[in-house]
């Protein structure tokens, strides 16, 4: 009798342990991403935005600053085309970032956006952005990377300045490694496919 009671308890506890492992591995990361999306944590801006026609609020002007930086070992020159612009909420605005690969090898870059203040992140919509894709630049090549965005007219009233930062990462190795991995054994967890813009 005692044995079966012990076995029962053991199975229940093991099930709890396994489900907590599953929770950590498979639920917490997507949950965190969802949480970031809602709160604008770390200034993550959402995916491609399907433009909904909205009235342009010409009464209000918002200053948008652009900042570009390179992560370690990214030798590209990467700068915003314009450092600052004034926009009206609701209007679609185009701008560019300039990138130049000075090295003698072809490289792949990935720009990661981050926007402050965080509470503005969910009101900053990108209809087109170079950060949705990886950028490949051949040795010595330069490119103009386009960005089109709309500031939501519902932007909270206190926010007058939005700073959008892009950090450029060198993902050449990572891409090469992944292609290798996929050839041999596909790793069970592929988060890279679920990139946020």
């Amino acid at each position: 009798m005692a044995i079966s009671a012990n076995a029962k308890t053991t199975i229940k506890m093991l099930a709890l342990a396994v489900s907590m492992l599953g929770f950590a591995l498979f639920i917490m990361p997507p949950l965190y991403d969802a949480f970031c999306e809602v709160t604008g944590l770390n200034g993550k801006t959402g995916d491609r935005y399907e433009a909904v026609p909205a009235a342009v609020d010409t009464e209000r002007t918002v200053k948008v600053q652009f900042v570009a930086s390179n992560n370690e070992n990214m030798p590209w020159k990467f700068t915003p085309g314009v450092v600052e612009m004034k926009v009206h909420p609701g209007e679609a605005v185009d701008t560019v970032f300039l990138a130049y690969n000075p090295t003698e090898r072809d490289m792949v870059g990935q720009a990661i956006p981050s926007l402050v203040p965080f509470k503005a992140a969910s009101y900053f919509h990108k209809t087109e952005c170079f950060c949705f894709n990886q950028q490949t630049l051949a040795a010595g090549e330069s490119a103009e990377l386009g960005l089109r965005f709309i500031v939501d007219p519902d932007l909270p009233p206190g926010v007058n300045t939005i700073t959008l930062s892009y950090t450029l990462f060198d993902v050449t190795e990572r891409i090469a490694k992944q292609t290798d991995n996929k050839k041999t054994d596909a790793s069970p967890i592929e988060r890279d496919s679920e990139r946020e813009g």
Binding site: S69, N73, P102, E104, T161, T163, S165
Partner: protein, 386 residues
Amino acid sequence: MLMGLKRLFAFLTISAIAPQLFAQETAQKAEEGVERWGVNMTQGVTEVSRTTYDLHMLIFWICVAIGIVVFGVMFYSMWRHRKSKGYKAAQFHESTLVELAWTIVPTLILVGMAIPATKTLYDIYDTKEADLDIMITGYQWKWKYDYLGSDVSFFSNLSTPRAQIDNQQPKNENYLLEVDEPLVVPVNQKIRFLITANDVIHAWWVPDLAVKKDAIPGFVNESWTRIDEPGIYRGQCAELCGKDHGFMPIVVKAVPQDEYHSWLNDRAAAAAKIKELTNKTFTFDELYERGKKVYESTCAACHQVKGQGVPGAFPAIAGSRIATGAMDGHLSMVVNGSPNNPAMQAFGAQLSEVDLAAVITYQRNAFGNNMGDTVQPIDILNFKNK
């Protein structure tokens, strides 16, 4: 590891014989002007730092009061209710009323603490309407400051000489809290900091401003300050970021607004001058001298002062294949970084052409490398634009 143990053993032997020797030595080294025996948080020089200090003291005194009551009862019973005094134990062991009371009263005290804390937090989070934006980037192991909207941008390195750290020279007053280029800011202006990192997580902390924010690679954090008094305020990196985490201080120099503007103009002019120097041809000695300085502030942290590196972690420069090989390979390694080892950063954007030329010349001719060749700033520029 074994080295460490050997030195530890030596230390233990010495300290067992003459511990007072060490005390004296330190006392001699500590120059006048170091504020010793500090026991409390600084009140700082901003409204937020003073509010934070007041909050800190409020909670501290509440804790002291609770401590006096609790420990008072405890020490009283330890003194009165002992068996050696023949005190007979009571046998009570329950009272719902008492339990209820000491659940509710602390809750009320906590609510009393939470109200001012919440108010202060709202102030700290209010980054609206800044007069000036400065981007701060943490690097292993230095800080970079970009004044947004101007061309001024520079790195800020520890300036304490290596010899002081290795106890070969007396330590000066601001030992480990001094940098080559402080962050210069105007007083009475709302300054917004955009904080990020280039490699690992750092944290930018200046106690006098009560600003501490993590610098996270890929993401931007924001914080702000408004400094009341001109002065020099020192801080340090506050998040473990690798080997030299303890050696990347922060120095903020707050100056009156007109002084700030003339400083900013000077910096812009200096940047232009460096560009001009790029076209100049330097002699070997000029390059070697300048290169030694650049090496010691930028490279020596990993590759070590004598170029011997750290086995297993950082390769040696002395006799290395790169530094004694073809010039192009050396240029590529320093300018673009190592494609294989993330610890070797791309210095192309961190150092000026002049400094790059100098340090490469130095590496090729110091530590017994004796290559005898030089590289000029213009070569670097050509290499970068190739």
